[in-house]
Symmetry: C2
Subunit: 390 residues, 2 copies
Amino acid sequence: MITVNEARSLLFDLVQPLPAEEVPLIEAAGRVLARDVTAQLDQPPFSASSMDGYAVKAAEVELHAMFKVIGEAAAGHGFDGRVGAGQAVRIFTGAPVPEGADFIVIQENVERRGDIITIVDQPGEKSNIRPAGVDFSKGTQVEAPRVLSAEDVALMAAMNIPTVPVSRKPQIALISTGDELVMPGEVPGPNQIIASNTFGLKALLEGLGAEVRVLPIARDTVSSLETAFGLAAGADLVVTIGGASVGDHDLVGAVAAGLGMERSFYKVLMQPGKPLMAGRMGDAAMVGLPGNPVSAMVCGYLFLTPLVRHMLGLKDTVPAFRRAKLVAPIPRNGMREHYMRAKLEDGGIRAFENQDSSLLSVLARADALLMRPPEDPAREAGEEVLYLPL
Amino acid sequence: MITVNEARSLLFDLVQPLPAEEVPLIEAAGRVLARDVTAQLDQPPFSASSMDGYAVKAAEVELHAMFKVIGEAAAGHGFDGRVGAGQAVRIFTGAPVPEGADFIVIQENVERRGDIITIVDQPGEKSNIRPAGVDFSKGTQVEAPRVLSAEDVALMAAMNIPTVPVSRKPQIALISTGDELVMPGEVPGPNQIIASNTFGLKALLEGLGAEVRVLPIARDTVSSLETAFGLAAGADLVVTIGGASVGDHDLVGAVAAGLGMERSFYKVLMQPGKPLMAGRMGDAAMVGLPGNPVSAMVCGYLFLTPLVRHMLGLKDTVPAFRRAKLVAPIPRNGMREHYMRAKLEDGGIRAFENQDSSLLSVLARADALLMRPPEDPAREAGEEVLYLPL
């Protein structure tokens, strides 16, 4: 069996970063910038007033100095003339500073009578002028790759970048497998349960920027699985859930192999999630997740999340662990890397009592996966451990 | 002038939690659960095997014990009979445990010849049975309000909840104002800049679960602003950006008042963002943000984010500050609460050198707003400060 890190590396080999597409800037937030983009102008494009007041020559600024107001500059409307000695131009925030002026006396420091202003309060040293290009210059780049934040989008708007090259969204097909499953809203038979994994995984993967199709549940028969794989055509990534264990009814691996899947690995030295499977299947990557709800979601965080980020062209794709102190002891770990459902509290972390991999109620209360290395000894409260935030 | 906290309280008085609507579970992630929902069944609905193996009577389990296999139980297909003394039923993960059996010997601990199995490895104490209802019982509630996570959605699927009551999305109209503005993609005139605030705010607010309309830019005239307010009809919240300062060209307050806006407050003791305005305008709340790009986004985090969360019916709407140690000194603060753009680094926080409220490039590099109380003295590296993560 291979380790979690080895499995993740092999997964990355199964996909390639997706091509770029241009989208309108207004739709770009949350997408991954695919190429560097470049400011089309200086910002501000001209020296601009940062206050409402009067534009004058700095050398003439002193208490009781008087100026004649010769015109006005507002945002969007400059003053065409030149400010000479003893002259001032009424100016508003965002307006271009007129030629000849290099200081804005704020209006609170001035008394005005007709066309004459007098400085009645010490204006201080600050010129209240934003030099041209102080925010950015024409040619300044926003560097790819990055997930575009609201601030990035605002910045690119100011740079006059109306459309943005972003990585195409990964197309993912999700297939739940198992005779025991029915969809929410159906009435389960006496031996059946409700399919939940595709619902959780769709939400997780769409939050990362993927486009996810939930396919009909595949039954534990060759023909039903073949139909489901057929419906997945066109996807960049096909994810099956369940049917990947060693039971006689676990057909996914066999059917996938029959359809030409080249297996990359099967089984990972981890808990939960051991019976993970992956390979290439035609034009798509294929990942077979275990069917226990918690195992499937944990594998979603540990493997599918990095895989999607890799497909989107991001660089920092390996999950970043954080450190916290245990608030309660944990027993020794077995031979597999163990991702315990845990809760951050009082500045520390506490593993839930019941770690059974079927317990969605525990996973929904968790906000962290506490990572135990293989053979990690029992740990006391106060000892530091690694965790992944959920 | 009022404080940031006072302004926020007054804002909450301007809106009411929005009504609930039912959405399909598959679309519920990220929405706010409006009412408690209830599990429609026990999970698992029956005692289920957690392993592939053989169902037997626990009392008969010991090394070298032999059993006769009388049938099979698979996921979705139970065994209808009863397990008697000396009998076993072949069982797979997720299958109902047959009557009479209370222990699953995993297949790795068994040798099988024809219909006879022999226990060849010590099976241990664990029964490998998940009792009915161990995850949740019929009637277990998922409590509102909460932002639904991927795990919540998976849990509600397992609970057989096909549609979910969520708070209707707040409808927000954004109006940029100013003669100096043109849209990205246009060629700015000599005194003009590109409108960026609506782009950043739309991304921020949609990320919170709002539906945002960006209206045409309003010019600095009464009729243009009246047209824009007219286009905002139907919104729960109308947000203007710019034109809210004291300059002669700042018309927003006057035009809004002319249209019947009842002002709640104007000006907040903060930096950036002082000329904030809010009130009721017909059926909508109205917030007037300052026009500097950084001021507008900071007000987006400090005021619009809590307001949207309040409209969505969430309880914890006041931003939660965190603590970090300064990695570089900061000068004394003035009389207004100051939200400095800052970067988290090396376990500490560093305020950017240039805090001018026009600098989008600085905001885009920031990942925190460092909060300075009024009259906060100069602080040295190593001192603890409060911040909001962005």
